[in-house]
Amino acid sequence: MELITLRGIEKTYQMGDIAVPVLKGISLAIRQGELVALTGSSGSGKSTLMNILGCLDHPSTGEYWLDGQEVSRLSTDERALLRNRKLGFVFQSFNLLARTSALENVAMPLSYTAEHLSDRAARERAAEMLARVGLADRLDHHPSQLSGGQQQRVAIARALINHPPVLFADEPTGNLDSRTSEEVLQMFERLNIEDGITIIMVTHDPKVASHAQRVIRMDDGVILDEASSGGPGRESKGGGA
């Protein structure tokens, strides 16, 4: 089943009088349970595409179907709601709240959820998420007391708190060394296999991209080519595990 379908997506920024086309007609389909890497040189429009996919921005033209819904023309508030329920984000710079415990960082998105959880239920759910990313013993640590890899895992737990079907990661390993990068990528693979979460990550590192089953290469606002590759030690697979 296709979770994401893009048809002729274009994005043009207006810089004064000059129109700057950044995405020049992107068509793409991503099935549920895929782990996709988006690569390309810097400035090729990867982040712009990710923002559109993540419903943070809307395209200038084109259609975007997410989970059977056309979302490119939704209002700001509707997109916020959609992000809360269906999408998870992992950022290059973690974006954790400083001087706030890991548990509270993870529980934060719940305060914007329509159905209200009790305080205790929210904390339990956050603790459960942290346990899933292997940080059950770090609930009360503040970001400054955690390593980069641990911080990114807290961020992943936060992205997963509302059980979204899709996870977006823009350069998730950009600020990590190779060993902790590996940790985070293995976490992605596990989530992808065990929970069937669709993961789309942006990277310019071929080694990182090699963890994905499907690598989409972009250049100057268009899709250059696409390659399917099994990650190390894994078979190519469809659907949720």
Partner: protein
């Protein structure tokens, strides 16, 4: 998003920078603190002022006979004799705005006790209602005289503190006999001290006695104004009554049989010097004046268009002057408070703008995980309000502490003002909302992508 959760988030955000939050709210703390302290001190002094006015009888109306005039010459207030004790009763009965009323006869005479003597400011002949009219019901010692004493013209009296001091030298006067114009009066009570009034008149230099006694035994002037021999007649009655003190007295001066034969004059009324009436409260005074005027015009059979034969005086002028002063003070304080709150509010706005800029990435993140513009708006607004309320609470504590300090150190009258506290809470919340709105609105309008990219 629940308000409770928002408030908790706001508290957490503020706790991340406690020193800055403290310094930011300083304006509010000082503003509210000043207001509370001033309000409490102001309320205290205005209560003290009110007490002073009340002791002088703020709600008291004095009704005197009007001026007589003859051939273009006026003889001054009181020169006609038209007020009667019945007028006083009618005023009490028929004027709903009047709490109590008493007729009054004034005399001035030497008072003797043992080998000491004193001439008090005034000897007032009244009914027991006088004590209520003057808010003087609580006596320092003894009991007030009764209506029966008035009816019987009993020779009893209450002494003011000055007389006690001058005549008795600290001895208790209750039960002792003093002589006024050679007539023995038993002292049955002592008035509480009132001190001097606004004009410097010693209010404690008085004797209070039944008006019948004063009128017919001490002044004895009711009809004597017109007939000199009547003085002798009343005097002789008094002498007799000294011999037989238990004989009930008639209310009206008795005339000798020769007098009555010579001059068969029906006694129409006993005239009195004035009526003192207390309005039920300060707001009722003007209504009371109208009612009294109506009642007296009817009783005195004054036709429409004819001038009153009485004069009604009240303390309104004095009360007005004092309340104007108080109002001016309050307004001045309010202006100062307003300025300090505006300054405090600008401080809040400034720091909230800094906070929004500082936390741009946090705002972007919150938006990315599903916060809508209005959630962000509410969060920052609540934060500003929490900041202001914390400042307000500290200000209330500070102001209250300050006023207590003033009370203990300077002995100023201070009164806790719950309305000022409530107003401070509302005003600080209001300052938070007004000055927090712009930064919060700015935060809510951020673009999540830009915000997340912000360095």
């Amino acid at each position: 998003m629940k308000v409770y959760t928002t408030a908790r988030t706001a508290f957490r955000a503020l706790r991340r920078n406690p020193m800055r939050a403290m310094l930011t709210t300083l304006g509010i703390v000082i503003g509210v603190g000043a207001v509370i302290a001033m309000m409490e001190i102001g309320a205290g002094s205005s209560a003290a002022l009110k007490k002073t006015i009340a002791s002088m009888g703020a709600n008291v109306l004095v009704i005197r006979p009007g001026t007589a005039s003859s051939g273009g010459i006026t003889f001054g207030s009181g020169s006609t004799t038209t007020m009667t004790p019945e007028d006083s009763q009618a005023i009490l009965r028929e004027c709903p705005s009047i709490r109590n009323a008493t007729p009054m006869v004034r005399a001035r005479a030497q008072v003797v006790y043992g080998n000491r003597n004193w001439v008090p400011n005034a000897i007032y002949g009244v009914t027991p209602a006088y004590l209520d009219v003057q808010d003087w019901s609580i006596l320092a010692e003894g009991d007030p005289f009764s209506e029966r004493d008035v009816l019987n013209g009993n020779r009893v009296c209450l002494l003011g503190q000055t007389l006690v001091r001058e005549l008795f030298e600290g001895e208790s006067p209750v039960g002792k006999e003093i002589r006024i114009k050679n007539i023995a009066f038993r002292v049955i009570g002592v008035l509480t001290p009132k001190g001097a009034n606004m004009m410097g008149l010693d209010q404690d230099d008085v004797i209070i006695a039944p008006w019948t006694t004063i009128k017919y035994r001490v002044t004895g002037l009711s009809l004597a104004n017109t007939n000199q021999s009547a003085v002798a007649a009343t005097d002789s009655v008094n002498t007799l009554s000294n011999l037989y003190p238990t004989t009930p007295r008639s209310l009206y001066p008795e005339r000798s049989s020769i007098q009555q034969a010579n001059n068969p004059m029906p006694i129409r009324f006993a005239n009195i010097d004035q009526v003192m009436a207390a309005a039920s409260n300060a707001e009722e005074i003007s209504a009371a004046i109208e009612q009294i005027s109506l009642v007296l015009r009817e009783r005195h059979r004054i036709r429409p268009g004819e001038p009153d034969d009485f004069i009604i005086r009240d303390m309104a002028e004095l009360t007005r002057t004092l309340s104007t002063t108080t109002k001016l003070m309050t307004n001045l304080l309010l202006a100062v408070a307003l300025i300090s709150l505006v300054v405090g509010g600008v401080g809040i706005m400034n720091i909230m703008l800094v906070s929004v800029t500082e936390r741009t990435r946090e705002i972007g993140l919150r938006m990315a995980v599903g916060a809508r513009g209005r959630d962000i708006l509410r969060q920052f607004l609540v934060e500003a309000v929490v900041l202001c309320l914390t400042g307000g609470a500290m200000g209330i504590v500070l102001g209250h502490g300050g006023s207590l300090l003033v009370r203990t150190l300077l002995n100023w009258p201070v009164e806790t003002s719950p309305s000022a506290i409530a107003a401070s809470v509302l005003v600080s919340a209001g300052v938070g909302i007004i000055f927090g709105f712009y930064p919060a609105w700015k935060a809510s309008r951020l673009d999540p992508i830009e915000a997340l990219r912000y360095e």
